[in-house]
Point group: C2
Chain length 169, copies 2
């Protein structure tokens, strides 16, 4: 990995893997969410993520490299956290809050990666790639904002209730 | 982990661990950076990160919990990536670009965590904690912006040069 082209490809492989992992876990996140708005958001996000994978494949085609992901240990760790939140929290509202936390860690990881790739594409003079990455980056930021507003719009309030009766469960 | 209080503490432990790992790697990042502005930014960031660790300890004291981190596999993976960037890229300008990419992944992870904690603290009605978290979150966002501007301000341009002579090195 000695040139910007190599680094660019390595990061594309990382985020390609990350998106595909996200795509696999989204149906589970939807299923385990109790808040209806959250459930719906994860379902909608599946289509969006598929399109983002498609855009990455376009980018890889433009640079003439194989569309093959490379394990991102960071994304693996975030997905494992999401799985723990789903498995280990019994209270539905608290579990929703935990699921949102993990989902936002995933979104932010991808925001960081796409922002870096975008900066590099600009300096490599790859205008077509810039356009594709800008589109995805905006969607990622919007997805993160949406998670925040769902948390603020009810999940956090429900999860923060401290029912006297259920406290010792 | 069945209440919002438990989840809040678990995430605090995660980010406490993450900050301390970041603190350990910052001197290495500074040392391995060739761009002088980048080197300086990592050095400055060390003091800031120490203060952020201090703020987390204040938060933990307020909620009456022990200041003990808990391994964040996500942060471990990001640090490992940073280490690979430092070790495996010979070209100084490309290495700087790789180091910035890893540093921004770390910043974004922490931005996600602090944003989540902040939302929860608001709903738990913990005003003093909110104040501490807001301060850190703003610094993290600023640190991320600074990395972007250093990348745009020279690192990416240097790294994207494709010298004919050195191409086959």
């Amino acid at each position: 990995m000695q040139s910007m082209d190599d680094l660019f490809y390595a990061l594309l492989q990382d985020v390609y893997f990350a998106e595909k992992e996200l795509l696999k876990i989204l149906p589970k996140l939807a299923q385990r969410s109790s808040n209806e708005t959250l459930k719906l958001a994860f379902r909608d996000h599946e289509d969006e993520t598929s399109e983002q994978v498609g855009r990455l494949e376009q980018v890889l085609e433009i640079i003439g490299r194989e569309a093959r992901g490379k394990t991102s240990d960071t994304m693996v760790a975030i997905i494992a956290e999401a799985q723990r939140m789903m498995d280990e929290i019994d209270d539905a509202a608290v579990r929703d809050a935990g699921i949102i936390a993990a989902a936002q860690a995933a979104e932010h990881y991808e925001i960081a990666r796409y922002a870096t790739l975008l900066g590099w594409a600009e300096h490599l003079g790859e205008d077509e790639i810039v356009e594709l990455l800008v589109e995805t980056l905006e969607e990622k930021r919007h997805a993160d904002d949406l998670m925040s507003s769902i948390a603020e719009g009810g999940v956090n309030a429900s999860a923060s209730e401290r029912p006297e009766a259920a406290a010792e469960a």
